[in-house]
Structure formats: C-alpha cells, structure tokens
C-alpha cells in the first residue's frame, strides 16, 4: 500500500509545474482567452516537442510509454496553469485509444496525437472540448456508454462560445462515428478513463484556486488585520482544502485503477467525477468570494478557474449522474451480500 505519487511521478510534476509557471503565466492565458479562445500555439508546440501529449502512448506508437497516473499528473498541472492548449482532449484521447482502440485505430491516430501533429476533441455532440480543428473526436454520448470515435468534416463542427474562453468548445453534428476498439465493455471503460482524466485536471484547477486565495487573504488587510485571520474566511479556506483533497484522493484512485485495477475503474471514475464536478465548482466559487470585490472583476484571474471548473463539470456530465451510478453499484453489492 503506497497511496502517493512515486519519486519519478513527483519529478514529472515538479518539472511540469516549473515549465508551465515560466511559459503559461496568467498574462499568457489572458492573452489567448481575450483573443477569442485562441490557443497558445508556442506553448502547444513546446509541449508536443517534449512528448507530453503522448505521455500514456506506447513507445511503439511514438509515445512515452507511461500510464494513466503520469497522465493525471500532467493534467493536474495543466489545470493548475489553466493553460490554453488542446492538451486535455489530445492526451486523454491518445491514452484512451491506446488502452481500448483497435490496431487500426492505434496505428492511425496514436503517432499523430502523440507528436501533437493532430489534436483531438472529447465530450458529447452538445459540448465537445477542443473540438474546433480536431482531426478526431472521442464522443461519450452513446446511451450504452460506449466511446465512439468520429472523424469530422469541418462542416460538422461548429464553434461554441462558452463562458470559458481558455479552451475552444464546439458542437458536433453528423459525421461518421465508429466504436472505439470493438465496442462493448472495453469501450465503456474507455469513457471512465476520459472522466478520470477530466477529474485530474479539476484537481489542478481547485489547487490553484486554493493557493491564490490563501495568498490573497494573507495579504489583504481590513480592520487593521489580514482578512485571513477572520474565522469565517478561515473556515471557507478549510472547506476549500477538504473539497480539493477529496477530489485529489478520488482522482488519484481512478488514475491508478485505470491501469492497475480495471475491475475497480467504473466505480473509481464515478467517485472522481462526482467529487471533481461539485468540488471544482465550489472551490473556485469560494475563491471568488474570498477575494471580495476584486474577485468579481475581470482583472483578477480567479474567474478563469471558476469558468474552467464549470465547463469541466459539464464535460463530466455533472455530479448527479455519477452519484446515481454510485448508488446503483452500492445497491448491487448490498443485494449480493
């Protein structure tokens, strides 16, 4: 039992944190967002050069040959930076195709996604993250839960302007879609992998919101003292920590289960999705509140995190459906025992 990152994984995290701090400052994120959800192309090129999109792709297909936990580590850091890149969709799609794609799908998509030459979109037809300009879409809206791959024509993908301009979203119509791999249980589990990936990003978003809030309430003074000395503010911050750590525990569990304990993945992913969807929203909302009037201004950067958390929750399909999954799983277990 060792419920923590390994030394190698911590090193990946440290390197990612440093690189993104240098390359993806709030000024850069803002620049991309205010340009109308333009991606930071220089950053994306650099991440592709470093092989990040292919972190969980086998070396045979041009990737790093690492796993879902390493992917989660990078996603947390990209979320922490709120970076304006198609990383989430591209890396998660690559990991998903690697895990459950057919030989033909792997050969067709993995080298291009791992190198960053191609990008992917993930989500549903109603809300597809990074869908604009993507060569392949990973779609999660089948009632059966099976993940479908679509190769859209440009006309199938319509940009959708959302409240989160740090990422490009789209709606998708028509287009040919085929099951991931041979469909069935493996294609359903692939959807759990995608949700585990989104949840990992949310952990980073929440962590950043918490850290920005702590820095602010230590600095900002009212009535002659830092506002962080007020118990009401302190209690809010403690709740933010609890929600962030709850999301982290479940996201790590889901990432670990994806590779090491597939039989636990559906439950772990539902836990992670439910904790992230609600936790991300409430932590980032608290960040705005704790920043006071400043937090409500366009100038303070916490709103980017709030907006990202809202869209991530929508991509996850909201917490309620995952709680329903959890209830069904628990009820089935009680029935058996």
């Amino acid at each position: 039992m060792h419920f923590d990152l390994t030394e190698d994984q911590k090193e990946i995290k440290r390197v990612a944190r440093e690189l993104l701090a240098a390359r993806s400052s709030w000024a850069r994120v803002r620049e991309a967002a205010e340009a109308g959800a333009a991606y930071d192309q220089a950053l994306w090129d650099e991440l592709a050069q470093l092989g990040w999109p292919g972190i969980a792709v086998s070396e045979e297909h041009g990737g790093q040959g690492l796993g879902a936990v390493e992917l989660a580590v990078l996603l947390e850091e990209l979320g922490y930076a709120c970076a304006a890149t198609p990383f989430l969709s591209t890396a998660a799609a690559a990991a998903t195709i690697q895990a459950a794609g057919s030989d033909a799908q792997r050969a067709r998509w993995l080298p291009a996604l791992a190198s960053g030459e191609a990008t992917a979109g993930i989500g549903t037809r109603a809300l597809c993250a990074d869908g604009v300009g993507a060569q392949v879409l990973v779609l999660l809206d089948r009632p059966s839960g099976e993940v479908m791959l679509a190769t859209p024509n440009d006309s199938d993908v319509a940009p959708l302007e959302t409240i989160d301009p740090t990422r490009r979203y789209a709606t998708v119509s028509g287009g040919d879609a085929e099951p991931l791999g041979h469909g069935g249980a493996a294609a359903v589990a692939a959807g759990d992998r995608v949700r585990a990936a989104i949840a990992a990003e949310v952990v980073g978003v929440a962590q950043r919101a918490l850290e920005m809030t702590l820095a602010y309430v230590k600095e900002r003074r009212q009535f002659g003292v830092p506002v962080g000395s007020f118990q009401a503010v302190q209690n809010r911050c403690a709740q933010m920590l609890l929600d962030t750590e709850s999301a982290r525990s479940t996201a790590l569990y889901a990432a670990w289960a994806a590779d090491a304990a597939p039989e636990r993945l559906s439950e772990a992913a539902a836990l992670a999705a439910a904790a992230a969807a609600d936790g991300g929203r409430s932590v980032t909302a608290s960040a705005i509140q704790a920043h006071g009037g400043i937090g409500f201004t366009w100038e303070a950067d916490v709103h980017w995190l709030y907006k990202r958390a809202q869209l991530d929750a929508a991509l996850l399909g909201g917490a309620r459906r995952h709680r329903a999954t959890l209830t069904a799983l628990a009820a089935a277990r009680v029935a058996v025992s």
Partner: protein, 381 residues
C-alpha cells in the same frame, strides 16, 4: 501508487481473518450498558489470548510490531467481522503507548500487561469544565505532600471512568509558571480511593458513556508521575498524538456498514427509484469512499514523511459530518420508525451529534487546519 496490500500486509490480513472466523465476537447485548461493556471486556481477553489485542505494540510488550497499514487492516477487519472495539481501548491506544514512551522500567513492568489483558481499565482525565478544546487552561491542582501528591479539581467527559482502575490525569503542579502549558504534570492515578467521586453524565441519547470526575484530596505517589514533574504538556501531547490513528479505519468501516444497511432499508420500502433518495445515498457512498481513500493517503504520508500531510487533519471532520448526514437520511427514509425510543437508528441519530464535538470540535478543527495546514494568520479567539 499502489493501492494493493503487499505480501506482509496480505499475510497479516489473512491470518487475522482466519482468527476472526474461528473466534466470532457474537452479538452485542442490547440496552444494558454494563452487559455490553462486559462483552467488550471478554472480547479483549480473547483478542489478547490470540495475540491480537494490541497489534501496534512492539512484540516485547505483547504486540505484533504492526506497521501503520497493518494496524489499519486490523481495525478494518475487526469492524467488518462485527467485533466491538476492545474494552480497554483508551489503555491500548493512549495509556500504553504513552507509558512506553515516557514510563520508567518499573512503570512499564507494572502497567502494560494489565492494559493488554483488560485486567485493568484506563480512563483519560484531561478535559475540564473550563478546559475543553483549550487543554492548557486546566485548573485541577496537584500539591506535594511528602512523597505523595494531593489532587483537587474536576474532570469531565471521562468515558469508562465507572469501569476504570487507572486514570491518565493531567494536573497543575506549578501555578507560577509563566505560560499556562508550563507547570503541568501527568499522573497515573488510582481510581479506587476516597477522594475520587464518579458521577455519570447522562447524554442526549439517555445513555451514560461519560462521567464527571470530582477529585477532592485524591492521592498519587511520586512513583506514579509519568515523564517528570512539569513535563505534563509534552507527555499529554504524546497521548493526544496517538488518539486518532487506527480508530479512523474502524469507524470508516462501521459507517460503510450503516450505509449498506440503510440502502437495504430504502430498497425494502421501494425508495431506490426516488431520485432524491438515490442522490443522497450516492453522496454518502462518495463520502465514505473519500474518507477511506483519504485515510489511506494519510497512512502513506506518515510512513513516508513521519507526519500526516494536509489531508490528515480532515478525516475526523469528514467522518463526523458524514455520520450526521447518514443518520439524518435514515430518519428521512424510515420515518417515525427511526425516531422511536430505543430504535437503533434513533440512537445513532442522537449519538452522531456528539461526533462533531468529541475529540476536537469541528470549529476548532477548522481553525487548526486554517492555521497549521494552510498557514493563515492566527484568528482572534
């Protein structure tokens, strides 16, 4: 990342499971506190005979030198088998380790075995009417008289005092010390003497787990000072640091069992299709799992760094909050049946109100998290 048990941990669990299967705890006597306690005392004797009473103690003192993870496994399996906590839980978890850390060879020789076998039960005399969360404010006095100390004062929330032979007592021996946490001394006090009066404290459940302790001229020999005169604060911290480690796993499994039972009740009543009920049950399932996972993260942090990470301070708060929600949902699902005097769910509903107070109120825990984990400036008190 590896959330599976290693070979040693698996072997430990399998041996324990085999022992528990061969030594069923039986059914808890209902409604009679003394009978219930006698059942737990007998259970601890059986655990001790099997070498399972104090797995976290070193082998030289009758334990198994279990790792933290093995200790967690012990409490999970104990709860899963329907076994109660051993009767002398305060002795096993608090007094024993504190005496091992601070006690003289004579004190260790005298006390550790009777703790292990439940021959002598221990209670904890820390809290006072005006010193709850603020322990250093305690007022109970100990005055030197020859080679004895004479104790005067009042303790409260003393669980198991009515069964206890010994008390971990912290009292003030120097009233002139410049800071209030100085001048305290930790005593091993014999409960069976004039000068110790035990008054049961009736709780909102109607039961009396706790007592008030009135100390009026109680006497403790010099040889029963633990860790030296004036070192009471440091010694007490050893006791407090031990308080929440293994128990979290027992409580976490108990809560999971209650949730499973509630799911069964909801299904019997055809309420599983009610979206509100299903949503609330799903939230509780999530919280139970978050608690379990976060507790394991805490273990890894302690094993790796020697101290809990930021998540370590959160489990008690999560547990009490979740238990209150769970028992409240039971009242929604079962209706008046859960509110009938003597009904198990009614007891749980009322007992859960104490969870966010005992062992550190949620309010104070949040302050501790804010100041010590998040580094926020000290709040005005």
């Amino acid at each position: 990342m590896d959330l599976t048990f290693n070979a040693d941990e698996t072997a430990f669990r399998d041996e324990l499971r085999a022992w528990l299967a061969a030594n069923e705890p039986g059914t808890a006597p209902h409604g009679d506190e003394d009978a219930h306690y006698a059942w737990r005392r007998d259970w601890q004797r059986r655990l001790a005979d099997g070498g399972w009473a104090a797995v976290h103690w070193p082998a030289e003192h009758g334990g198994r030198g279990a790792t933290l993870t093995q200790s967690a496994i012990f409490y999970e399996e104990l709860a899963a088998a329907g076994g109660p906590l051993p009767a002398n839980v305060l002795g096993l978890l608090l007094a024993g380790p504190t005496i091992m850390t601070w006690g003289t060879p004579e004190q260790q020789e005298r006390h550790l075995v009777p703790i292990l076998t439940a021959e002598e039960i221990w209670c904890q005399g820390f809290s006072e009417p005006d010193a709850g969360s603020d322990l250093a404010a305690l007022k109970t006095r100990a005055v030197k008289d020859g080679d004895e100390w004479v104790i005067t004062g009042q303790k409260v929330w003393t669980s198991m005092a009515q069964y206890a032979k010994w008390c971990m007592l912290v009292a003030r021996t120097d009233t002139d010390a410049p800071k209030k946490h100085q001048g305290l001394t930790y005593f091993l006090m014999d409960m069976e003497q004039d000068g110790v009066e035990i008054v049961p404290l009736k709780q909102i459940t109607g039961e009396s787990e706790f007592n008030e302790l009135f100390l009026d001229g109680a006497r403790v020999p010099d040889s029963n000072v633990l860790g030296g005169v004036g070192s009471g604060w440091k010694v007490a911290l050893t006791t407090l640091m031990n308080e929440r480690s293994g128990l979290a796993f027992f409580l976490q499994v108990r809560m999971r069992q209650m949730l499973d039972q509630l799911i069964g009740e909801a299904r019997e009543r055809g309420l599983m299709d009610d979206p509100v009920v299903a949503d609330k049950l799903g939230e509780l399932h999530l919280r139970c799992e978050v608690l379990r996972l976060t507790a394991y993260r805490g273990l890894t942090a302690i094993e790796t760094y020697g101290q809990p990470g930021p998540e370590g301070s959160l489990t008690k708060w999560m547990w009490s909050d979740t238990n209150q929600q769970l028992t409240q949902l039971a009242a929604d699902i079962l209706g008046p049946e859960a509110l009938t005097a003597g009904a198990p769910w009614a007891f749980e509903l009322l007992r859960a109100r104490g969870n966010s107070i005992e062992g550190g109120t949620t309010e104070v825990l949040k302050n501790i998290v804010a100041e010590r984990v998040l580094g926020l400036p000290r709040a005005g008190r």
